[in-house]
């Protein structure tokens, strides 16, 4: 394709090119909104049908890790926005610094997620043959708070008295938990790959006030992933916490 510097032949100006690219990215994000929307819809229907099991499943999640990860992800959105600003005002060194910070924070998020997943494996809360919500309260792990464990035990027993199928319905919650956070994490991994590509470009001094479309576009994607988490956090971690 004919190309002059960063301007492709079918565009008149860099600005027109950037607006077109941004619009294209937004159209992709619309498909993503509907894609995640389907999952949120499934979640809503199942939660309204099996609210007890969803409440117990939610209470097994670590609220400190979840809230901490929310803070980390919002911080990474700030550094991403700052990377866009740095490119717009021509501070080339800052572009690299903010992009690396964004990648770092994204990696911390994924690391915390891995710790949380491991915990669920240890507690027999992976949907499938070994799934048992009674397992963890009666098999304490090192570092467990006995008070909290007793509460959990109480809650699980009470739930089983009400609904003997709680293990079946709990698996619905955990299937959605792993499906939704897993797809979210997959998006973060793709985002991390895009950030690596941007960091390489920023080292080469590619992003200037005239041309910074890739930073802006990847930024849109990164902020979208942040928005998905803004909804996932209260929906997955904070059900029935007041009891």
């Amino acid at each position: 394709m004919h190309r002059t510097g960063d301007l492709y032949g079918h565009f008149q100006t860099l600005e027109q090119q950037k607006e077109t690219a941004t619009l294209g990215m937004w159209i992709f994000l619309v498909t993503e909104v509907l894609f995640f929307g389907g999952l949120f819809l499934t979640y809503t229907i199942n939660r309204s049908a099996f609210s007890t099991a969803f409440g117990i499943g939610s209470n097994t999640l670590d609220i400190t890790l979840g809230a901490g990860n929310t803070v980390v992800l919002i911080m990474s959105s700030l550094t991403m926005a700052m990377a866009v600003w740095s490119a717009q005002v021509g501070k080339k060194k800052l572009v690299s610094i903010f992009l690396i910070a964004t990648l770092g924070l994204g990696t911390v998020f994924l690391g915390v997620k891995a710790v949380e997943y491991k915990q669920k494996f240890d507690h027999h809360l992976i949907p499938g043959r070994g799934f048992d919500m009674k397992y963890h309260p009666s098999h304490p792990m090192p570092g467990d708070d006995p008070k909290e464990l007793a509460l959990e035990k109480n809650e699980v027993e009470e739930a089983f008295a009400h609904d003997p199928d709680i293990n079946a319905h709990g698996q619905l919650y955990f299937s959605l938990y792993f499906g939704m956070t897993g797809l979210h994490a997959l998006h973060m991994i793709v985002g991390a790959g895009l950030l690596l590509w941007l960091i390489k470009g920023s080292f080469a001094g590619r992003f200037t006030p005239q041309y910074n479309t890739p930073v802006e576009i990847v930024g849109l994607y990164w902020h979208f992933v942040d928005i998905v988490w803004i909804y996932l956090f209260p929906l997955l971690y904070l059900i029935d916490r007041h009891r």
Partner: protein
Amino acid sequence: MSEHIVSPKVYIVIFASLMLGTGLTVWAAFQNFHQYNIVIALGIATIKATLVVLYFMHARYSPGRTQLVIVCSIFWLAIMLALTLADYDTRLHDISLSAPQVFYCV
């Protein structure tokens, strides 16, 4: 038409509001607002998402056609949610009764 550059000050104010929103969400989750807990949680999340879209994603300073695409995405999402939920709400009196019982593995 020249590009609008959002200043770091705006970004930091938005960031602070998002942090405040996160804190508020966690606090609200531990209060008993009866059936309104979920409404409050989703309300705060929606305010946070709106701030991200308007400022971090520059929607406020985007051309009209980009804004139209954003509004359309919300509109189509609303159609999907509203019509499906209306269907579930009116066809089955209790979804849990129709749930498959094949998940047993205790």
